[in-house]
Symmetry: C2
Subunit: 740 residues, 2 copies
């Protein structure tokens, strides 16, 4: 019965999508009646035309970037797919391509919806705050639901094919041919995750570089040198800045979380499939192998499927029970939305576990099936719920450290009265501190869920954290949409009143974006742990002895990886931003004198070119390091690398995101006159802008890309595990054969 849930979800989603998209489109809405013209003087139709024009600029920039990026990525996909085909298996190639395409499509859908919603949000804010908020949220929800539903459908199809294939093996496979088939299935599942995740990495890195190069460039040239406002239409980099929000924060983040979701499900599948390993003698021939697989395999997908419905219900509840009427209500409503979805999911998870796992069954952490765990419905529930609530707590803590309603950010703002340097010292310190709770919670989730269900439990915890993904993504995408709406309002000169509303929407979005980042990192960490487990199963590592110097070397190199990666991406942002500044400064004299119009296209193409060029090296680093070093120094070295990258990457990712978020909000706090007598334009504000600029690449380029680094290095190792295991190295000892 439960098997029909995923297709049903697909239908619900499709219906919602059509309705929502229809509601968002601006065409045919030439300005509603309740919209008043600005200060009674300007022409309503003219402003509307400008709005549409600017929005078209942004949409074109975003589309041209994605097209250009996907062109290069297709090259990567083709080459890598062929490599996988020859080295691993051709079914894995198909899955890899499918995963890549889904991930790319998700990014594209998100971006398209966002560039449609931003102008509509701006338009609605002109009239009423409530409608503006609803439009932005609706735009976000289209992206959130689309992404999760697409993922579920694809994984469902992959699973059905897997099961059909297993059909011929209706009892436990007994000969070599059947075992090879199992290998194929393993590899295919991993291929899907690898495809999704590697596109995510490139999207995140390129998008991140794009958005921050434009942002930093615009700030440094226009704001610092000419004292312009954010989104001043005279600043030639301002369109690129707005495009950046869409390609970095929407397409990049969408691909990122899609990757987490795909990989968490893949890890769960892999670990479950190992439990039904043909080597296991406990499956007597009278048990129909396929049925066991089906019943157990469905649980991970069911959690996600029901999560989509719960998300939809939560959005509807908040829409009617907590409408936004005044500015302070915005943030409250968004937070309630996150809370409600978590609360709804709790009993649902327990019910699903009862339905899926009526009887105890055995699962193993290693291919040799030494470490065994008896999974029951309540143990599975605990694992999922640990992740679900752990994610919420991480979000709350992240908010504490990054919102200017609390002491830490205010303290930074205070010190910025003294100097930019002290602001940066306190900000770095805040970031370091803010690791504590998320890391401890992640460790506790992993420890407890592992205690109950082994590595499979960790993948369940990851899925639990990601079960509210549709809502988290909705809220995440809401932010850049509001940010863009504000940009459009400023550029179309709709007036102060509208700008104030969009600013409030944006500010709330900043806080929830920080929550979303904490959540993305926490889930990435859990996913990586589960994938690390899957790698060890596939590579036949029963015990990873860190007294083994090869594994230890891997650990050090792995811990180094996030640093090199961050060094690369930060540098890329710096260089691209300087190019952007140079271009802007070249244009400014003409623009200021009124002789020339700002040339937005050149800035857009600078950002596009730089970001696509600079995404190659970090991507290659992440994908090649574990595989090549594994070839040279043994599979235990690869396992060490994964652990090192995970343990050091999670810390860097959290501290970077929170430091950047705190600086951003310290600036906003000062702008909102949080320090009486040190408002906008004061020395303190200038110091805060320095902090914010430094924080931009930390929180939007390097930090979030590190999530993908730890996930991708793990899944690429899973993919090539059979190669690392069988070709050059003995299965019992870790070191490379040449050193024997």
């Amino acid at each position: 019965l439960l098997i029909i849930v995923p297709p049903a979800i697909g239908i619900i989603w499709a219906v919602y999508e059509i309705i929502a998209m229809r509601m968002i489109k601006l065409d045919g809405h030439p300005g509603r009646d309740d919209i008043v013209s600005v200060e009674g003087t300007q022409d309503k139709a003219k402003i509307l035309r400008t709005m549409v024009e600017i929005s078209n600029h942004i949409a074109e920039g975003a589309t041209s970037f994605l097209v250009e990026q996907y062109k290069w990525l297709s090259l990567y996909i083709v080459l890598f797919a062929i490599l996988i085909g020859f080295v691993v298996s051709w079914p894995a190639t198909v899955a890899f391509v499918l995963g890549s395409v889904t991930s790319g499509a998700c990014g594209f859908i998100g971006m398209k919806t966002a560039v449609m919603s931003n102008v509509r949000t701006c338009h609605e804010c002109w009239g009423s705050l409530t409608k503006g908020f609803e439009t932005a949220l609706r735009g976000g929800s289209v992206m959130g639901l689309a992404l999760v539903s697409l993922g579920i459908e694809c994984l469902y199809v992959t699973m059905l094919i897997t099961l059909a294939w297993l059909g011929s093996a209706s009892s436990a496979p007994s000969n070599d041919k059947e075992i090879t088939k199992m290998e194929y299935i393993f590899a295919s599942i991993a291929g899907y995750g690898l495809g999704g995740s590697s596109i995510a990495l490139f999207a995140r890195v390129a998008g991140g570089i794009y958005t921050k190069a434009a942002d930093v460039g615009a700030d440094l040239s226009g704001k610092n040198e000419y004292g312009m406002n954010e989104d001043d239409p005279r600043n030639p980099a301002c369109i690129a800045d707005n495009v950046g929000d869409n390609v970095g924060d929407i397409a990049g983040m969408g691909a990122d979380l899609f990757g987490s979701f795909a990989e968490a499900t893949c890890a769960a599948f892999l670990l479950l499939a190992n439990a039904c390993n043909p080597y296991d003698k406990s499956y007597a021939s009278d048990v129909v192998y396929k049925d066991i697989m089906a019943g157990q395999l469905m649980f991970p997908l069911l959690i996600s499927s029901v999560g989509v419905v719960a998300g939809l219900i939560s959005i509807l509840i908040t829409r009617f029970a907590f409408p936004v009427k005044t500015l302070p209500q915005i943030e409250r409503t968004l937070k309630i939305l996150l809370l409600i979805s978590t609360v709804i999911m709790t009993p649902v998870v327990i019910g699903l576990a009862l339905g899926s796992y009526p009887e105890e069954f055995t699962i193993y952490d290693d291919e040799a099936q030494v470490h065994r765990y008896q999974v029951t419905w309540w143990k599975a529930s605990v694992a999922v719920l640990m992740g679900l609530w752990g994610g919420l707590i991480i979000g709350v803590i992240t908010e504490y450290y990054t919102s200017h309603s609390y002491r830490p950010v205010r303290e930074i703002a205070e010190t910025q009265r003294v100097s930019a340097a002290t602001g940066i010292i306190f900000g770095l310190s805040l970031g370091y501190f803010s690791n504590a709770v998320p890391v401890i919670i992640t460790a506790a989730c992993a420890l407890i869920s592992h205690k109950f269900c082994g590595m499979y439990g960790v993948s369940l915890a990851a899925l639990g954290m990601l079960s509210t993904l549709s809502v988290t993504l909705t809220v995440d995408a809401y932010g850049p949409i509001s940010d863009n709406a504000g940009g459009i309002a400023e550029m179309a000169e709709v007036g102060e009143a509208t700008r104030e509303k969009t600013d409030a929407l944006d500010a709330a979005g900043n806080t929830t974006a920080a929550i979303g980042k904490g959540f993305a990192i926490g889930s990435a960490a859990l996913v990586s742990i589960a994938l690390f487990g899957a790698f060890c199963v596939r590579a036949g590592i029963e015990s990873l002895n860190l007294l083994d110097p090869w594994a230890f070397t891997g650990l050090l190199i792995g811990a180094l990886m996030p640093y090199i990666f961050s060094g690369m991406t930060m540098r890329s942002v710096g260089i691209a931003a300087q190019d952007m500044v140079t271009e802007c400064m070249r244009q400014f004299p003409g623009i200021i004198s009124g002789a020339e119009k700002p040339d937005y296209t050149r800035c857009v193409s600078i950002a596009t070119r730089a970001s696509i060029k600079e995404m190659v090296a970090p991507g290659a680093l992440v994908i090649l390091t574990p595989v090549i070093l594994g070839m040279a120094l043994g599979k235990n070295c690869t396992a060490g690398i994964l652990l090192g990258a995970l343990s050091s990457g999670i810390q860097m990712a959290i501290s970077m995101s929170n430091t950047g978020g705190a600086w951003d909000n310290a600036k906003k706090y000062i702008e909102a006159n949080g320090l009486p007598g040190h408002g906008k334009g004061s020395a303190a504000h200038k110091n805060a802008v320095t902090g914010d600029t430094v924080g931009d690449p930390l929180k939007d380029t390097s930090g979030p890309a590190l999530n993908i680094l730890i996930k991708l290095s793990a899944i690429v190792s899973v993919m090539f595990a059979s190669v690392l295991k069988s070709s050059t190295f003995s299965t019992s000892v870790g070191g490379p054969s040449w050193a024997k």
Copy 2:
């Protein structure tokens, strides 16, 4: 025969010490004849009086800080010694107190010599550059040689006592009483290292907070607000700033490297002692147990002893073969000094190994003696030489990233023309990149030396890196002495010509300080690996399986520790600096108007109070975390913590030190007119000062203290290993007994 080497070294050192100190003292040198008066107008005697007066201020400040600090540290020593006595053993208590006192004494000697040498250096620079350089270097050498020699003598005595004790067990111990005695000896050796290292942590943290609070405070108030020069006598924080150089960079760093040296030797002893474990049946009763111990145990001490002589010879060679006549020769001479000592040590190490290990012998990596390694003279030599030359390479790479003779720092300076923010972005990126080579070299040293001699090999590599310690310390201490000399020259108004010379001395010191830091981190990493090995031996961990969730949890928590630690120390510097700024700003109006004299004492006492108060929490974090979590979650969790702290701490330490060093030198580059048209006082210079100020706590407080964090957490675990092993937990499985 070789057994008389250490006492001989002691005598050589004592003679050198007496001669050098006599040469450094300024009393009775009322200005030499070749010293010309400033611009012919001022009174030579008056300037000399001012110089002595200022130097007395600095000496008083430094002494009062150390006295205050040692007062609080004695409380810690007494309490912790009692704890060790009750929990571990009373001999361990004695060793712990001895280690603490030696460490404290080394810091004190270094500080005393430095505050004597600084004024003398200034005095000599007034006349000739050559003599000024020699005086600063001589001051440094007193500290360098004193520290290493004292360490060797103490460890020698500890070893003799150990051997005397073993005398009663002239053949392999056979009963329980003898085994308990072995335990005692193990614990005592660890106690010495623990004492040295825990004092080092407090000295480093308190000294680091002191020096940077004063430095940042002085910069932010005097430089930024009133446009004063560095070391302007009107700035009330300037004496505190100079005191800080002595207590942070001299006493703190001395204690730090003393700790590394003591711990590396302890780790070597522990691992050797395990090889002679009474459980081993290979030692037949006719082999005199004591003799084997003596022969093998001497090797580590011999390396260090001969290193002192080699250091002395190198200093003499450079003094006569490469005298400093012109400004550019300073840096060249210092680098040649480092190179010569490494070259001299190479054949010496091989000779010593041949002498100590004429026959192959067996060593084990675990108490159960499963992992065995056959050590020969050439394998031991390779391990030591890996460390020796690895250290030099790390130093060279560090110089590349932090000296403004090369591209990376110049690039930062270039971007500082654009803004402070891009300078900080590029600086962070540089720090992340700069990890690569040092980490890979450390990993290679560990891998290869482990391959040949097991964990004992790693401790030999650490000792190899530290064998040139006397020279490295000399050069390290030379830096702050020159810095202080410059400060005194400025405050006593000796004139431009002298100031130019001291500036050149100081600039060269900055570069070599960066080399010293790279070296300190590399050796700390190797020491920690060796101590990790010793911990596993002592705790009976034969295989640390990271698929065990308890160990994995430890890994995550361990990787978190350096972040929390850095967060604490950065924050402390920020807060103390702000107090300092407030105090300076209160005094400035009176000072500028000439109505009041600057009150140096208040600033000194602010820095003293803040630093001593703030050293408690980070210290407690490092000492308690591995022990308490080990008690609660098992010994495997402790092992995981050590690995996590090591793998994430080394990365942070290197990147922090190099980022800070690069910003400092980018500022110096701009000041030296490296960017034509953007010299001192330009916007680019202001941006560079912001970078430098942010870098101060990174490179002089948090970064170097992280070395001690990774060493101290390891040695404290070694100390309590028997408790973690035997009391609450089973020896075969990692998790805590309550979770079974």
